[in-house]
Structures are given as structure tokens and as C-alpha cells.
């Protein structure tokens, strides 16, 4: 069974801090994604990566960056956290580039920026 593990379930950070959210998948998936989920707004794509060291902007990349140095690990970085980045962050991976390849999600990290 595919496992996508996010390093923290809950995080509380202060405005201006640099924040790292880590995600690891154990099934050798090519694609990895970062989404944020907000009430009434659904899942919005921040960044995705289809290979090591490759990254593509999603719909809302402003204020975020990502790193993928190894195939199994995809990190989301908030360079200078702000209160409007308080949200549930979801990491996902998928096996290949076919359209019917479903995403496998981690259980999320709830980030609060004060």
C-alpha cells in the first residue's frame, strides 16, 4: 500500500519565520504535489514536480518554494510565513504521467501562523 508521510500533523509558527514542510513517499512515484485546503476553497495546487530537481508552479505559488533533491522527498518552503498562509497543507504523489493515475495523499499538516 502506498504511503505518503508528512512530517508534522500540526505546526505553529510566527509571522516572518521560514517554514519547512516535509513529505516522503515510499512507492517510487515520479510525480509529487503540494496542495492547500481552505474552507470553501477546496484543494488548490501550489507546486508540483514530475522528476528529481524538476518543479512547476501550480495555481497559487506566491510565497512558496519547493525542493526535490531525491525522488521520494518533496519539501514545501514558506520563505517568510504570513498569517494568510494559515491552512491545511496536503502532499500527494502519483505513479506516472497518465491522466488516470490517481493521487495518493498524506494526512496533511495543519499550519497556523500567528
Amino acid at each position: 500500500d502506498v504511503k505518503v508521510t508528512q512530517s508534522s500533523r500540526y505546526l505553529v509558527k510566527r509571522t516572518g519565520e521560514k517554514v519547512f514542510l516535509e513529505c516522503v513517499q515510499d512507492m517510487d512515484h515520479e510525480n509529487m504535489f503540494w496542495y492547500r485546503q481552505d474552507p470553501g476553497l477546496g484543494l488548490r495546487l501550489i507546486y508540483f514536480s514530475y522528476d528529481v530537481k524538476m518543479k512547476e508552479k501550480g495555481d497559487i505559488p506566491e510565497g512558496y518554494s519547493v525542493s526535490r533533491e531525491k525522488k521520494e522527498r518533496f519539501s514545501l518552503i514558506l520563505e517568510s510565513a504570513s498569517t494568510n498562509q494559515t491552512s491545511m497543507y496536503l502532499c500527494a504523489s502519483s505513479f506516472d504521467r497518465w491522466p488516470n493515475s490517481p493521487l495518493h495523499f498524506g494526512n496533511g499538516t495543519r499550519l497556523t501562523v500567528t
Binding site: 476553497l41 477546496g42 514530475y50 496536503l90 491522466p99 495518493h104 495523499f105
Partner: protein, 114 residues
């Protein structure tokens, strides 16, 4: 501007009856559609999908219907069970950066009453 719309934020159904969750999309280039289910404090899990070349796909109690001319799809759950109570996300896939990237709707919260 939303490309995938779930216009009903919530739906309440009696156990044993049919649940119908609706989804509309605007981009005719979408070529694959997926439904995900999300329980509180967990990541979304893949439920069922349909290719744009089909109009129906069935998996047990779950059936997805696609009407391309109307740019509309629906998920039918028959019979509904209390364990089906969750948030359901519709997603549509489009090629971007060499991979198929899903765009999610805002979700519909289904409550199945015993």
C-alpha cells in the same frame, strides 16, 4: 476563475437512498475525471474515475456519469451508507509540464443519516 465547480457545498441523504453529487467544468480540454473522498483529519482518497471517451463507469455502489456536451459529471452512490459521510471532491485532469495535473472542485460534504 473556477474551471471545476461543485455548486452544492453540502448534501443530506437517508441511509439506503441514492446520493447524487454533481460537478460542472468549463474547459473542454479536460480528458479525465476523478472523484476523491475525504474524511476529517485524513488526506483525500481516490474513489472512481472516468475517461472523456466514456459516459459511464461503475464500481460497486459507485457510478460516475459524464455528459460531455453539458460539461457535467455526477457521482451516484446506491445505496448510501453512514460510512459514506465525507467530503467528496471532483477533479479534472489536463496535460501540463509533461504530466496530467488534476484541478479540484471545492468539494461537497455528504451526510448520510441512519
Amino acid at each position: 476563475d473556477q474551471q471545476v465547480k461543485q455548486n452544492s457545498p453540502s448534501l443530506s441523504v437517508q441511509e439506503g437512498r441514492i446520493s447524487i453529487l454533481n460537478c460542472d467544468y468549463t474547459n473542454s480540454m479536460f480528458d479525465y475525471f476523478l472523484w476523491y473522498k475525504k474524511y476529517p483529519a485524513e488526506g483525500p482518497t481516490f474513489l472512481i474515475s472516468i475517461s472523456s471517451i466514456k459516459d459511464k463507469n461503475e464500481d460497486g455502489r459507485f457510478t460516475v456519469f459524464l455528459n460531455k456536451s453539458a460539461k457535467h459529471l455526477s457521482l451516484h452512490i446506491v445505496p448510501s451508507q453512514p460510512g459514506d459521510s465525507a467530503v467528496y471532491f471532483c477533479a479534472a485532469s489536463l496535460m501540463a509540464g509533461g504530466s496530467y495535473i488534476p484541478t479540484f472542485g471545492r468539494g461537497t460534504s455528504l451526510i448520510v443519516h441512519p
